[in-house]
């Protein structure tokens, strides 16, 4: 059985939801601890959402220096699929595993909404079960979600197809070019602000045209990882 690790940091909130999402697609969820130097041989890694270290210093900054991040950086370089969700995305950016950085939402407020996204690159380790251009809805909840980078970096990642998700309808935090998620050049490391793990089970996801809380668009992030490991 494919084993996907979820790293718990001090202040992680959505680690258990990520573990549940992994089990829902038929993989084994392996809890990992930030203070260890051991990935327990997992096949893929999720850095979950939350407010590690209370967002002190900068969101994700202190956690990006955690002991286990040395192993995550090594694994990412070897092509292991790594997904950073919300605070996990902030950690990936702070660790320079994906380009860019995050600042306070442009409107200065925490925001929670079911967010429409367009999948801009359906070839990454975490998006291969989507179609390029497909629109999905998953929950968003953050205070420091404004993705920024300098003009040269934005131009480079747009050209490389490293912009993986874009906000549609509403840009909820002032992110440049409506960017909601990005990848590394190789496409095995993906980070995004919205939360796929909160849209994996009918009854607990975003509303759809069919029924309340029935949205499960987040499932395919995890089935994508399984597929990429099969074909690796």
């Amino acid at each position: 059985m494919t084993r996907i690790g979820v790293i718990t940091f001090p202040g992680s909130l959505d680690d258990r939801d990520a573990q549940r999402a992994i089990r829902l697609v038929g993989a084994e969820a392996v809890p990992l601890w930030h203070g260890d130097h051991d990935l327990l041989g997992v096949d893929a890694i999720v850095l979950p959402g939350g407010f590690s270290y209370g967002d002190y210093l900068r969101a994700g900054a202190i956690a990006s220096h955690a002991p286990i991040m040395a192993e995550v950086i090594d694994a990412a370089a070897k092509g292991v699929p790594v997904l950073g969700i919300c605070n996990g995305f902030q950690m990936l950016a702070e660790a320079r595993l994906v380009p860019g950085a995050h600042t306070r939402n442009a409107h200065q407020q925490f925001i929670r909404r079911d967010q429409r996204l367009r999948v801009e690159n359906a070839t990454t380790a975490w998006t291969n079960q989507f179609e390029t251009g497909e629109e999905i809805v998953i929950p968003l909840k953050n205070a420091d979600g404004r993705f920024i980078a300098d003009a040269a970096t934005i131009s480079r990642i747009e050209g490389n197809g490293q912009v993986v998700f874009r906000y549609v309808g509403v840009n909820p935090n002032g992110s440049l070019n409506d960017i909601a998620g990005v990848s590394n050049e190789r496409g095995n490391v993906v980070g995004l602000m919205p939360h796929p793990e909160h849209a994996t089970e009918e009854g607990f996801g975003p509303d759809t045209a069919l029924a309340m809380s029935s949205g499960t668009d987040g499932l395919r992030f995890f089935t994508s990882a399984l597929q990429s490991l099969l074909s690796a």
Binding site: L57, R58, A61, H65, A93, E94, G100, A101, T103, R104, N105, A106, Q108, I148, A149, D150, T153, G174
Partner: protein, 86 residues
């Protein structure tokens, strides 16, 4: 004990929402004559022992790699103060 002071500011070209909010408050208070406010961070690192070149080099490295994120911030100054004198 000596203190190494590191000051970090958001990059000049970036929106500084905190500073903008404070500048807005100044305007509402009727304090005219100020065009902007920008807010940065000051780190005071107390050193066990003297500030050697090696210690200063290490803090300079930490300032660049941890205290600041070069995508969004600049380290604007690193200086040594004597805590006992202040």
């Amino acid at each position: 004990m000596p203190v190494i002071v590191v000051e970090v500011m958001p990059k000049a070209e970036l929106l500084d929402p905190q500073g903008k909010a404070v500048a807005g408050a100044l305007t509402r208070l009727g304090k005219t004559g100020y065009s902007s406010v920008r807010i940065g961070k000051r780190f005071e690192v107390t050193v066990d022992g003297p500030v050697t070149d090696a210690v200063l080099a290490e803090v300079t490295e930490l300032a660049a790699d941890m205290f600041s994120n070069s995508v969004i911030e600049d380290v604007v100054s690193i200086s040594v103060e004597d805590a006992a004198a202040s």
